[in-house]
């Protein structure tokens, strides 16, 4: 049974390498910096939320290795199908952080036109599907995108993310069932951060591991230490390459831990008190210390600059105009209905009251 699948690791005690990683040394610094930047980003955004400057935030504290290890392994042509916690992966593909901030504020510059809650990003330009709140629904979408790519004979892979809690959802079961039946180039990344809001994974699922679930679909599965960014990157590279060439689904459980609250609306002290495991940023740093070229100070300076930049972005986002009132009915259909136009008129009339 799945419980016997070993957890893959590359980073050992004191930053030593257990096996050769696929991530080149220069890129390790880039990924590390991205992890730090994301941590800073979440901290500032969470604070902005507390100050009432944005309505909501949901961070990835503790899961940066799991997310960025995968993001680094993706080719530009691959699709990213996020859950909601993977903004770092989108940034890693070049999506401007300012655009995320605009989305969080919900201003007129937001690519989503202020229609979705913060953190519900999307970017067709970066081949990143649209985040939605309902859990697990994106999993079949990834299967469909993978199928379309296969039919169009594109040699790409689709990386879809979801949490441990999502493995109980309909989308998970139906997505994996269809993926196996349709033989699609999709890699399923299950971020097992041990909680679905307040429910520990052991109470979600009585199997020994979540990779056990993949067995039932006939999908090959791997367990990776999700706090070990080199291990995540290694397995993600292999799996994505296999998906691209052999065009079949692969399941990867990334074992990690949600260090922060579920979101800005959550108070985890109500339901847990355990000591968190070691921080993946620290784990990676131990390794980088063993590398001569590691210039921690330079990175620190850039992160501080980012900090200032982000604050400026927030200010600009707040200063930007709200979405136009027309945007409220536009784009529901390619062409608005008569009812929508009448409603728009009524809203405009009420505004002028």
């Amino acid at each position: 049974m799945g419980g016997t699948i070993a957890v893959e690791r590359i980073l050992g005690e004191g930053g030593a390498l257990i096996r050769e990683p696929l991530l080149r040394i220069e890129r390790r610094f880039v990924v590390y910096e991205a992890m730090l930047r994301q941590r800073r980003f979440d901290t500032i955004m969470m604070r902005a939320q507390r100050q009432g400057r944005i309505g909501f935030h949901l961070g990835s504290e503790g899961e940066e290795a799991a997310i960025l290890g995968v993001a680094e392994a993706l080719a530009d042509t691959d699709f990213l199908v996020p859950c909601y916690r993977e903004s770092a992966a989108l940034f890693h593909r070049g999506f401007p952080i300012e655009s995320f901030v605009d989305q969080s504020v919900g201003n007129a510059r937001d690519v989503n036109r202020g229609r979705q809650m913060p953190v519900h990003f999307s970017s067709a330009d970066h081949r990143c599907l649209s985040v939605s709140a309902p859990i697990g629904t994106q999993i079949p979408h990834a299967v469909g995108v993978g199928y379309a790519a296969k039919m169009r004979d594109e040699r790409i892979a689709v990386a879809v993310f979801f949490g441990d809690g999502a493995t109980s959802s309909q989308g998970f079961h139906e997505g994996l069932t269809l993926a196996a039946a349709l033989e699609v180039p999709v890699v399923f990344f299950c971020r097992n951060n041990r909680y679905a809001i307040s429910l520990p994974v052991e109470e979600q699922c009585r199997a020994e591991t979540l990779v056990d679930k993949a067995v039932g679909y006939g999908i090959p599965a791997y367990r990776v230490d999700g706090d070990d960014v080199l291990a995540v990157h290694f397995r993600a590279c292999k799996a994505l390459a296999e998906a691209r060439s052999a065009r079949r689904p692969i399941f990867i459980e990334l074992l990690t831990y949600r260090r922060g609250a579920h979101s800005s609306s959550d108070d985890p002290t109500r339901y847990r008190s355990e000591v968190p495991p070691r921080d993946p940023i620290q784990i990676f740093r131990d390794h980088l210390y063993t590398l001569e070229a590691f210039d921690e100070e330079a990175i620190g300076r850039r992160i501080d600059a980012f900090d200032r930049d982000l604050r400026a972005m927030l200010r600009r986002a707040e200063a930007a105009p709200k979405p136009s009132i027309e945007s409220i009915v536009e784009g529901v259909y390619a062409k608005p209905t008569r009812t929508q136009l009448r409603q728009l008129e009524a809203i405009q009339a009420a505004r002028e009251l």
């Binding site: 036109r113 229609r115 067709a124 469909g144 379309a148 309909q170 069932t177 529901v332």
Partner: protein
């Protein structure tokens, strides 16, 4: 109608390599109603997908396909089994364009045989269109005739938005007509012109309405029959023109009355045409119950029940206002309205109801 649908699918698959069909038992078996019969042989397994028993997964996968360039046409074996896909339809497909600022769209068609009359009981007879009509972002089509089905399916596949496409399964084999190609473009169609009552319906009920209209005609009541064809978007013009002409509206559908699309139709008609109404609009609908087996014909809006409503509508508007105890009210109101409508009623050529034009197919269809 089965042949018309099959022909439309084949034609569009031929024309556009991005069109694929997916559903349960649609490949080897050709669909339980044989709509997809022969497509597997012709277009191969990649484009004709026999899917596992998971409607949510099928629709969810089709959404993903549509987001990356394909034009999936999903078959739900019976509309009664669409609910496992409800979340994907209502929370995902319907909202995708809007929520992504039009970065993504879902040009997908979900076909589902709907309605009763085949002794299908609770789970092979439902008419769930109202659920989807209440979901902004979804279009809802419901053709009643083979040629409409053909034209509308082609238009649905080419539409940039997700379309829920209900097929009146009772009509699948019962109605045939010589093939004709035309555009529907989300317009209602006047199936039978009439002076007295605007009877608005869709799907298989249309045929009950036609039958009732024949009977009414023998009693001197001329019922205008409007087949909506597209529920969302709704062709308000055709409806309003007719209702303003007749002053009386009767809505007929198979779905349960309460909360059905008929409520929306009545509300809209009243909101837009109150001054023209000579009588309260009425609804004849399916019963407020799960679709029953033994007494299914009683549960359905039959020609008889429609005829009774037609008569009641004429009676009430000409003799008495309903439930009122004030004699003067009826009289003065009717007088007022009758006066009001003279102008509208007389010049029939301006009424928008063009008799015998290409939209009127009176008698062209035969029920077999």
């Amino acid at each position: 109608m089965v042949e018309a649908l099959r022909g439309a699918l084949a034609e569009e698959m031929e024309r556009d390599a991005n069109v694929i069909v997916i559903g349960e038992d649609i490949g080897r078996l050709g669909g339980v109603f044989r709509v997809t019969d022969g497509l597997l042989e012709r277009f191969g397994r990649d484009r004709v997908i026999d899917a596992p028993l998971a409607e949510g997964g099928i629709v969810g996968t089709a959404i993903g396909m549509a987001m990356h360039g394909l034009r999936p046409v999903v078959e739900i074996q019976f509309a009664d089994f669409i609910y496992p896909a409800f979340d994907q339809l209502v929370n995902e497909a319907a909202k995708m364009r809007y929520r992504s600022g039009a970065q993504f769209a879902v040009p997908m068609v979900v076909r589902a045989p709907a309605g009763g009359g085949i002794k299908g009981g609770h789970y092979h007879s439902q008419s769930p269109e109202a659920y989807f009509a209440h979901t902004p972002g979804l279009k809802v089509y419901y053709p009643a005739s083979p040629n409409d089905a053909r034209a509308m399916l082609l238009e649905a596949i080419r539409d940039p938005d997700p379309v829920i496409f209900f097929e009146p399964k009772r009509v699948y084999r019962a109605v045939r007509e010589p093939r004709e190609d035309y555009e529907v473009r989300e317009r209602a169609r006047i199936l039978r012109p009439g002076e007295d009552i605007s009877c608005i319906s869709y799907g298989a009920s249309i045929y009950e309405c036609l039958e009732a209209a024949e009977a009414a005609a023998r009693r001197g009541i001329e019922v205008e029959i409007i087949d909506l064809r597209s529920l969302i978007p709704l062709d308000e013009e055709t409806l309003d023109r007719s209702v303003r002409h007749t002053g009386r509206a009767l809505i007929v559908h198979e779905a349960p009355l309460t909360g059905g699309y008929g409520g929306e139709l009545v509300a809209g008609i009243v909101e837009r045409n109150f001054a023209w109404l000579r009588a309260r609009p009425m609804r004849v609908a399916g019963i407020d119950a799960p679709f029953p087996y033994a007494l299914e014909l009683e549960a359905l809006p039959s020609a008889r029940r429609i005829l009774l409503a037609i008569e009641a509508l004429m009676r009430e508007s000409e003799e008495a206002l309903p439930q009122t105890v004030f004699g003067d009210a009826r009289d003065s109101r009717q007088g007022g309205l009758a006066a009001a409508r003279t102008e509208d009623r007389e010049p029939k050529n301006d009424s928008g109801v063009k008799k015998g034009d290409e939209d009127s197919v009176e008698g062209a269809m035969e029920i077999k």
